[in-house]
């Protein structure tokens, strides 16, 4: 299988405070196509920092990140935005959606950014909402949806752009256990059926249990990497 993401000796040091914070220490990590991988570890261990760097949202202090062989470390801001749009799906912890757009419009929006035509946008948006069991809420705005429903729409949006992989930073952190299980099952199902690659972070044991590969971070370093 092809390597999608390859991080080499990635370090991140924050100089905001008097004492510099080493959020990541020379992390080496590669993700293959079709993985369903969890980045785990206690709060503050560097999960968000790592995912942001893998997704081209932040630059490492040293080291490099290649995605499908393309080095994104020194990419120009505007090119990086386009690169993210075409290659990476994002799901954040909360407030993923544009509040004034309905569920289906939110999913459509990312395809609008890709300049897909209207027919294709609508068809795919409804198809994905159906897959995420959100068809009945298609015309509701995020404010009218529960946290779990919002995250399902966010996953639908992430899939809509047909990205090479999806990064999800603690997607279940704000959800109750039923919604958490539901969201993870849906993600796992899509991973299995469509070979969609997921990399997500969590510190929730029940979520870890669903992952096929567990990468454990501690104080900015990978301390274990288990594939089941």
């Amino acid at each position: 299988m092809a390597t999608l993401i390859k991080a080499t000796q990635v370090s991140k040091i924050y100089h905001k405070t008097v004492v510099p914070v080493h959020a990541l220490n020379k992390v080496d990590l590669s993700i293959e196509e079709g993985e369903f991988t969890a980045i785990v570890g206690p709060s503050g261990c560097g999960k968000t920092t790592l995912l942001n760097i893998l997704g081209g949202l932040d630059h490492p202090t040293s080291g490099k990140v290649e995605i499908t062989g393309i080095d994104i470390t020194n990419m120009k801001d505007s090119d990086l935005i386009d690169f993210r749009l075409q290659n990476i799906g994002f799901v954040f912890q909360a407030y993923n959606l544009i509040p004034v757009l309905t569920a289906v419009e939110n999913v459509e929006f990312i395809m609008l950014l890709q300049r897909k035509d209207k027919k294709e946008r609508i068809a795919r948006a409804y198809e994905l909402l159906e897959k995420m069991s959100m068809l009945d809420k298609a015309d509701n705005r995020p404010g009218e949806l529960s946290g779990g429903q919002q995250q399902r729409v966010a996953v639908a949006r992430a899939l809509a752009s047909k990205p090479r992989f999806i990064l999800a930073d603690e997607p279940t952190a704000n959800l109750d256990s039923a919604s958490t299980a539901n969201l993870l099952d849906l993600m796992a199902q899509i991973n299995k059926e469509q070979k969609a690659t997921f990399v997500f972070s969590t510190h929730d044991q029940r979520v870890m249990d669903k992952a096929k590969r567990l990468v454990t971070l501690l104080d900015g370093s990978i301390v274990s990497d288990i594939t089941r």
Binding site: D58, D82, L85, Q86, F90, F92, Y95, V100, L113
Partner: protein, 405 residues
């Protein structure tokens, strides 16, 4: 969809957006009202003195304008008349012989201003017939006179009575005569209303012993914009040692100066108004940007180009501005149209004070298109300048930082 997005974003904070839109509406309304009143008054003032008195262009004997005496008169002969009429844009030439006189009726005596005119052409220029309040207008070779209302009142003279005039004629000749009053004319400008006597040109030339002579020719032209061109053409056609040609800017310089001064103060007021409104608009833009940092961060993260996000905000700002401006114009248009056709008339007391400055005591409103377009431009330019802030802030935004908050 961008339009839908912008539209819905505007109404996320209904109260704030409404306040912004209405403050723009209010500013446009107030500004249009102010400007309409000012420009209306200026146009009226210029009309009063130019259109209905001096004409747009005058020809005199050289030196007459600085020394307005009957000795500075000239012969407006046929050759000259033909030259003047041949110029494109000249509609009418109105000859006048103007000088001072003493008037006397029973035991009243008063100084007055005689205007020897071609009654028909004078009427074409100044619509003097419409201002007659009593009696009938002068014939072409009438030996009577038309009296201004204020003067007639002072002299306690009526139509049909005979007025005695005493003055000095051309080259020191004695001038004396008896003139029956044919009609009374009401002028809007008090200076005119208290002093003018109209006389048919032949009578005036006889009275002042100045046969064939006049002191000025006033020209009615097709549009004021042609003034400079026609003046230049006239100057090339006449002997400038003998005659002087003046456009209305030179004929009423004091008026123009006071208008310009007033106009500046009006504009300063407008800028103050815009400044106040501008602060309000800026506050809205500031909050619009600040409270949506996280959302903007998400949009940049998932792949929305900064330019598009900036365009979205500018679109939101533009929509609010258009709504405000359109509403302002929509409200001011009928209001100003009403006041244009029903000008505000001052109360008696105020009217007297204003008329004593030589200005008519009504407030005509202008409907000049410029009034509306200028306010629209001003607000739009301001909105564009102020929207630089959100545009700049999106340009500088760091995805990770905006999403950490």
């Amino acid at each position: 969809m961008y339009l839908t997005l912008a539209w819905r974003n505007i109404w996320r904070n209904k109260r704030r957006s409404l306040i912004t839109v209405f403050s723009i509406t209010f500013a446009v309304l107030l500004a249009c009202f102010m400007r309409s009143m000012q420009l209306g008054a200026y146009a009226r003032m210029i009309d009063n003195s130019v259109r209905f008195y001096t004409g747009y262009i005058q020809i005199h004997k050289s030196g007459y304008w600085t020394d307005k005496v009957i000795d500075n008169s000239f012969n407006y002969d046929l050759t000259l008349q033909n030259k003047v009429k041949a110029i494109e844009g000249v509609i009418l030439d109105v000859p006048r012989l103007e000088s001072f006189t003493l008037t006397s009726f029973r035991n009243q005596i008063k100084g007055a201003f005689v205007m020897g005119v071609d009654p028909q052409r004078e009427n074409e220029l100044t619509n003097v017939k419409d201002k007659i309040v009593e009696g009938g207008y002068l014939n072409q070779d009438d030996d009577g006179i038309a009296l201004a209302e204020g003067l007639a009142e002072y002299l306690k003279i009526k139509v049909g009575d005979t007025l005695t005039l005493l003055s000095q004629g051309y080259h020191g000749a004695n001038a004396a005569g008896l003139f029956p009053v044919r009609c009374i004319i009401k002028f809007s400008l008090p200076q005119q209303n208290n002093s003018v006597i109209y006389m048919a040109l032949p009578s005036a030339q006889w009275f002042y012993a100045a046969p064939d002579l006049i002191t000025s020719v006033s020209l009615l032209i097709d549009t004021p914009d042609n003034t400079d061109r026609i003046v230049a053409e006239l100057k090339s056609h006449v002997n400038l040692d003998e005659l002087e040609v003046m456009g209305w800017h030179d004929l009423v310089p004091d008026l123009l100066q006071s208008i310009e001064l007033d106009n500046i103060s009006g504009k300063v007021m407008l800028w103050i108004l815009y400044l106040v409104i501008g602060f309000g608009m800026f506050g809205t833009y500031l909050m619009m940007t600040a409270e949506r940092q996280y959302e903007f961060g998400v949009m940049l993260a998932i792949g929305m180009r900064r330019m598009r996000l900036q365009a979205l905000i500018v679109l939101e700002i533009s929509i609010m501005t258009i709504l405000g401006v359109a509403q302002g114009i929509a409200l001011s248009l009928p209001l100003l149209t009403y006041f244009h056709y029903h000008p505000i008339v001052y109360g008696k007391e105020a009217a007297k004070a204003i008329e004593s400055f030589g200005v008519e005591a009504i407030y005509p409103f202008s409907l000049d298109l410029v009034i509306f377009t200028n306010q629209a431009y001003a607000i739009f330019i301001m909105a564009i300048i102020l929207s630089a802030y959100p545009v700049w802030s999106i340009y500088r935004m760091k995805v990770v930082e905006s999403m950490r908050a």
